[in-house]
């Protein structure tokens, strides 16, 4: 038998070709549009799915091998961290609040990404993108679970973690990330992958993970650092998928350009609004700062994103038009957000505090054009008031943006002393927005955004009290009832860090670990 001689060795690309897209065939017993019913209605024209360039050519055997190796390393660190009470090695207990924000705000999105990528993977008739999307769906399950498993140990010892699943669905500020992802997954498959694969994963994810994870490492949180970096190693694959998707869609038909450009404009802005929470975390919540939000934005968006958009210029893609607004806001975003959360900390599942003098000096140095002029005086004033026993808690519910659902606290482009309000009328109702960008997003798809479940509206409509609550009863305390419905335990999960149970326990446990008491 001379079969051996005739056999040619396949290169990486050819091998991957027979291992993935060659598995597909053109069906004849059922119509394509019945098997793939979701790929027409967005107006994206794909003429030849075979032109798809595979980003990373990972077959399942290699995938299992490398991912299992990553998991083994990761869980060894998570176990050791728990066994050694690693949480007592973080710089100071305020740091733990960043982890709360992550579990309640980000981890549930990883879960949604798992389901969303399964959906678009099934929806695309092209075998190349299908395999990449399904692999990402599997990865996202990993991210969700490793985060839950790593943070589980924090939940045992600290407040603000215990009902994260419910909080993500119900709590006012968490509706910002939740509605972001609901928006993406309810869009068509092409928009979803541009939104998440490109705008979020490629353009913005470095801003979420790298500073957050470096911040964890810098603040002694090895558990978070381990899952963060481990997740990032998958992100590199996901980012590359995001970039390939854009190039593929644009190369298929010139008519796709305006649609894609609008999605990039929309989703860069939507994603950026969600990152408000990250900005505030970087500048205010990490006891040891790695870099400021502004610096991170400059490196990861202006520099890297700039290179990306110059590269895409050959397809006619331009920088998202919100970039200018964001460039203005970068001096203000984190400060305005933290001030707002300081006001509303009675209704949050994490603690807030006023920056101390050292921290304010750092903020002045990082934000020479804005901090001393606009924000330091506020902190000084609040500190003075608190010292007099007048700690200010805002109990009036804020107006929320109909699109991004962030309270209207952002200021006018060009005037950081004036809150930015926009509104529009639709079918006899008035809708409010934080910015021109959010207003424009609404106006393009009003039927979608009128559906939004706005937490403040819902509270006022009486939908956020425990069953059987009588709001007309004497002495009815709406905030208390809302917190009960949220299952945020008043006095434990919320309010100032100063005087919190977390602060007391951490101090006592650390003393037990380091001294003979």
């Amino acid at each position: 038998m001379d079969m051996q001689v005739a056999k040619k060795k396949l290169g990486l690309k050819e091998k991957y070709q027979v291992m993935t897209r060659d598995l597909d065939w053109t069906p004849t017993y059922q119509k394509m549009e019945d098997i793939y019913p979701y790929v027409q209605y967005e107006g994206i024209k794909i003429h030849d799915w075979d032109r798809w360039e595979d980003p990373f050519r990972l077959t399942m055997d290699a995938y299992w091998k490398y991912q299992a190796e990553k998991e083994k390393k990761l869980y060894a660190i998570i176990d050791a961290y728990a066994q050694n009470n690693g949480h007592l090695n973080v710089t100071d207990a305020r740091y733990i609040n960043t982890v709360k924000l992550f579990l309640t705000g980000v981890s549930p999105l990883e879960y949604m990404a798992h389901r969303g990528f399964a959906h678009v993977g099934r929806a695309f008739p092209g075998p190349g993108p299908r395999v990449a999307c399904l692999m990402q769906s599997l990865d996202e399950m990993r991210h969700f679970q490793t985060q839950v498993h790593a943070i589980s140990n924090y939940n045992k010892y600290y407040n603000g973690f215990h009902d994260f699943r419910k909080w993500h669905d119900r709590v006012w500020y968490l509706s910002v990330p939740k509605s972001f992802f609901d928006d993406a997954i309810t869009a068509g498959p092409f928009e979803f992958i541009v939104a998440i694969g490109f705008s979020f994963e490629y353009v913005l994810t470095n801003l979420l993970f790298v500073p957050f994870v470096s911040g964890a490492a810098y603040n002694g949180d090895m558990g978070t650092m381990a899952y963060g970096f481990s997740a990032q190693s998958d992100e590199a694959r996901h980012m590359t998928l995001g970039l390939e998707v854009i190039k593929f869609i644009l190369e298929q038909d010139p008519a796709n350009l305006p649609i894609v450009q609008r999605w990039i404009d929309k989703w860069t802005w939507r994603g950026y609004r969600v990152l408000t929470l990250v900005a505030m975390m970087m500048d205010y919540m990490l006891p040891k700062r790695t870099m400021s939000w502004k610096e991170a934005w400059e490196i990861y968006f202006e520099e890297n994103g700039g290179a990306l958009f110059r590269d895409l210029a050959r397809y006619g893609i331009r920088m998202p038009k919100c970039a200018e607004t964001i460039a203005f806001e970068k001096d203000h975003l984190s400060h305005q957000a933290w001030c707002t959360f300081y006001n509303y900390t009675a209704a949050t599942a994490f603690h807030t505090w006023l920056p101390n003098e050292d921290e304010m000096q750092w903020l002045s140095a990082k934000y020479p054009d804005s901090f001393d002029k606009y924000y330091r005086p506020r902190f000084d004033f609040w500190r003075e008031q608190a010292a007099k026993g007048n700690r200010f808690y805002n109990t009036t519910l804020p107006m929320l943006c109909q699109t991004c659902q962030v309270p209207l606290f952002f200021t006018e482009p060009g005037d950081p002393t004036k809150i930015c309000y926009r509104e529009t009328d639709y079918k006899g109702m008035k809708y409010h927005f934080c910015s021109d960008h959010c207003k424009e997003i609404f106006e393009h798809e009003p039927e979608k955004y009128v559906q939004a479940w706005l937490p403040v509206h819902q509270i006022y409509q009486g939908n956020c009290f425990p069953e059987g609550t009588d709001p007309t009863a004497e002495g009815f305390d709406p905030l208390k009832a809302v917190l009960q419905w949220y299952n945020i335990i008043h006095g434990r999960d919320n309010l100032d860090f100063e005087g919190s149970e977390d602060q007391r326990n951490f101090a006592a446990w650390r003393a037990q670990a380091t001294r003979n008491v």
Partner: protein, 331 residues
Amino acid sequence: MQIDLRTVTIKPLRQTFDHIARYLGTDKPVSRYLEGSLGIQPKDVFHYRPTWDPEHEIFDVRRTKIRMKDWDALKDPRQFYYGAYTSARARQQDTAEANFDFVESRGLVETLPEDVRQAAVALLVPLRHVAWGANMNNAAVCAYAYGGMTAQAAIYQSMDQLGIAQYLTRIGLLLGDVESLAAGKQAWTNDPVWQPLRRYVEDSFVVKDPFELHTVQNLVLDGLLYPLVYDTIIDQIFAARGGAAIAMLTQFMTQWSAETRKWVDATMKAIVAESEENRTVVQDWVDAWLPRAKEALLPVAAIAVSEQAPALLDEVMEGFAQRLAKIGLSA
């Protein structure tokens, strides 16, 4: 020697997350499987309806005819969370790699009787496409089923099937060459022998109910296909005809089907045990698809075992009927 290990003991405030404690009725430490799987899918407060399916919420019980009081009852007895899943598959792929190496390095393909080699290529190569269809169907189960338990296991099943399609491709390249893959695809799309099976697979692509799809693909089709092709034709008949090397190359599939059957049976059993209505719904699905699967597999088995095929298929059907009976269904 006595080792006195002193560590700092601090008392936890709680043992697990509230949604898990509420489900179990007690706050106690739970396995990583449960902690990463129970109640993970959002159930309410969806902001927008899918533009691709405006009749439903993002996750909606009305996508299926099955009714469950507790969707988390559809647990995976293998307790696969991502870490456990990849670790299990990495071990299996290690063995598979060693098996491929062994067959290749000892030149075992050259020692195969030519008729067995040809029959194996003719049988196994087109099955790449069946596995690819199963990858797609399980992606749909993951995307549209209600409940995190089912969705999670379905993405594992989906990617397992992609892995199987890739192992079958390697087997095709090892027992044949690139042209064998092309010939296999040609047979899959044109040869009358494969058309009933291809029709079954393509018809399953338009099934909308995710639990019907689970039944059609994971219970019925794979429930017959794997015992017939891998356990019977390859492990018994080919092995007896001097083709034991082929059984080494398909060991992954044999073990995999024995393992995943536990998940399929546990979920089907829980669904059927829930109510008489559920049982009737699933029984109707089985009644509609099982005869088609049987009919489709008969000519496929004949490729390898010619006139023995009907008897072998009857034997497999007998085993499958027993399996259905344990679930609470009938053949």
